[in-house]
């Protein structure tokens, strides 16, 4: 479980987000939505332990985040950056093997158990069939699944994803979010992810927080948070809810 208490976040004295009070339950898929620059990435960085709060405290299973060493944290929590680039042409399997780093001492080799976990992570993300290919030979959709396999190989309880659907076409967007939700259910993963597309958020997340102008302006189940007047307040765009799950933008408010 992740809990934020009166958290204030920012860089070098500049405040990006304040008065954050959130509770994210185990096994939940929790979305962060909001306009560009509203602090989605900053919030994810804070939950990943890479950014210390200026005030307040973040708890992971009742332990304060800053009490965990980087290695301990990496065993509990996996995080994927929005854009990951690999500077050398590793194979898919070599990359997923890196997920075992936090579980082994520096001089230890991969055990049979590690290999089993790696193979399972590859299988769960449907990347096993091209695990011997190199990362640069893959499409962006395939690569996104490899990063997901890397995160799963860490055997985390929490998975943080910064816009996992960025740069993906419609089919891959559905495929990757479907996969993430399925993994959250089968692997009992808590997932926190930022999303740009409100329609996807409406369809895939259990609960979400809408960020705007340095605050959470609403949080809860998508049907209650993503209502036209709140979206207009956050994005300054007039929208209309269609029958079923979809919004349509009608113009700038």
């Amino acid at each position: 479980m992740i809990r934020l208490e009166n958290v204030q976040l920012g860089y070098d004295g500049r405040v990006v987000l304040s008065d954050l009070n959130l509770e994210i339950a185990p096994g939940e898929v929790f979305g962060l939505v909001g306009p560009n620059g509203s602090g989605k990435t900053t919030l994810l960085r804070a939950i990943s332990g890479r950014l210390s709060p200026q005030a307040g405290a973040i708890y992971l299973d009742c332990r304060r985040l800053n009490q965990l060493s980087p290695k301990e944290l990496a065993r509990e929590l996996a995080a994927l950056e929005q854009e990951i680039s690999c500077s050398f042409d590793f194979t898919v399997r070599e990359i997923v093997e890196l997920g075992r780093l936090p579980h082994r001492a520096r001089w230890q080799r991969l055990s049979a158990k590690d290999h089993a976990i790696i193979t399972r992570a590859l299988a769960l993300t449907h990347t096993l069939e091209f695990s011997d290919r190199t990362i640069q030979s893959l499409s962006s959709g395939e690569r996104q699944r490899v990063w997901l396999a890397l995160a799963l190989a860490q055997e985390p309880k929490v998975l943080l994803l910064d816009e996992p659907t960025a740069h993906l076409d419609l089919r891959y967007q559905f495929e990757i979010l479907g996969l993430i939700c399925q993994l959250a259910a089968t692997e009992r993963l808590t997932v926190v992810l930022s999303l740009h597309d409100l329609n996807l958020a409406l369809r895939f997340v259990d609960r979400l927080a809408l960020l705007s102008e340095g605050r959470v302006i609403a949080s809860g189940v998508p049907d209650e948070v993503l209502v036209p007047h709140r979206i207009e307040q956050a994005y300054h765009v007039r929208v209309r809810r269609l029958e079923g799950d979809w919004f349509i933008a009608e113009g700038v408010a």
Binding site: R50, A74, A79, S87, D89, F90, E94, L101, S137
Partner: protein, 306 residues
């Protein structure tokens, strides 16, 4: 083979006292030194390329080798080289000075955000230290020192002594152990500093340790052989094309590859114009560049067929 070839052809099993002297006191230490210098530079190059996620990185980038050369040159220009061990110490101090300056720049916020800023400041520092070396060369003019200074600038293994061999061997073993211990962290760093941090690695910590080991090793290598370019840049690329990018394999094979390459280059440098010697840097570039292009071409063809 490197032992047998030279201005005077000698079989390794010759028992003639003069030849035995040439063999054990001049040629053998020189061949071993070539292997160690090549290994050290290639290992440092492989680490730097991984650390800075940049294929252009080598011990010369960031000014480590230029700083070491300037340090050695200053020691000679001040006539401190009459003291035993002064030149290697001067080279090491020069290298440390360069890396400290780069590291100070690395601590500033703009350099932390942008790896290229760090590399560019390294290039600028390298130019600065080269200018110091050139000035010393110009200032000492036609004196006896000038010849010794040119040795540092062109690089060469002609000054090989057993004490150099042992000193570099010890440094290579210590630094090599440290670097190998962090090989898997370098693999994680290929995904970027943030991703490495999410995998439980502390990138700033890693940078500090690796830079220390690389500086030490480069400075000692430069101290015993002057500046020999190209090995640190090209060998890791060759090996990456052959054994893949995994640093646990890449680091030891790069060291071996560098050792083989420089031994061969030195053998050529000593023999083609015998009894005169070619500066070894000319050979490393002449042999290395075409081979590198060949490997790149081959990879492009393989890539197309996959």
């Amino acid at each position: 083979m490197g032992i047998a070839v030279g201005a005077v052809p000698i079989s390794p099993f010759d028992r003639d006292p003069t030849n035995l002297f040439i063999l054990t006191q001049i040629r053998l230490p020189r061949v071993l030194l070539a292997a160690l210098v090549g290994g050290a530079l290639a290992l440092c190059g492989a680490v730097m390329q991984g650390l800075f996620r940049n294929p252009l990185a080598d011990p010369y980038l960031l000014g480590i080798a230029s700083g070491a050369t300037a340090g050695a040159a200053l020691t000679i220009a001040l006539h401190l080289d009459i003291y035993w061990g002064a030149v290697p110490i001067g080279a090491f101090l020069g290298g440390v000075l360069a890396v400290t300056m780069v590291y100070r720049i690395a601590q500033t916020r703009w350099a932390q955000l942008d790896n290229y800023a760090l590399i560019l400041s390294g290039v600028a520092l390298a130019a600065l230290f080269s200018a110091v070396t050139s000035f010393l060369l110009f200032y000492r003019g036609a004196s006896h020192d000038a010849r010794r200074l040119i040795f540092w600038i062109l690089g060469g293994l002609g000054g090989a002594q057993w004490v150099y061999v042992l000193g570099l061997l010890g440094t290579l073993l210590v630094a090599g152990m440290i670097l190998l211990l962090f090989a898997r962290d370098l693999n994680a760093l290929a995904l970027g500093e943030e991703m490495a941090a999410h995998l439980g690695i502390e990138p700033r910590h890693l940078r500090k340790i690796l830079l220390f080991a690389v500086t030490l090793l480069t400075a000692v290598a430069v101290a015993v052989s002057g500046t020999i370019g190209f090995v640190g840049l090209i060998v890791p690329h060759m090996l990456r094309l052959i054994v893949g990018p995994d640093h646990r394999l890449l680091l030891p094979t790069s060291a071996l590859g560098g050792a083989v390459l420089l031994t061969l280059c030195d053998a050529v440098a000593r023999t083609v114009l015998a009894p005169a010697e070619l500066p070894i840097g000319i050979i490393t570039a002449l042999l290395g560049a075409p081979f590198f292009l060949f490997l790149l071409r081959r990879r492009a063809q393989l890539g197309a067929s996959l």
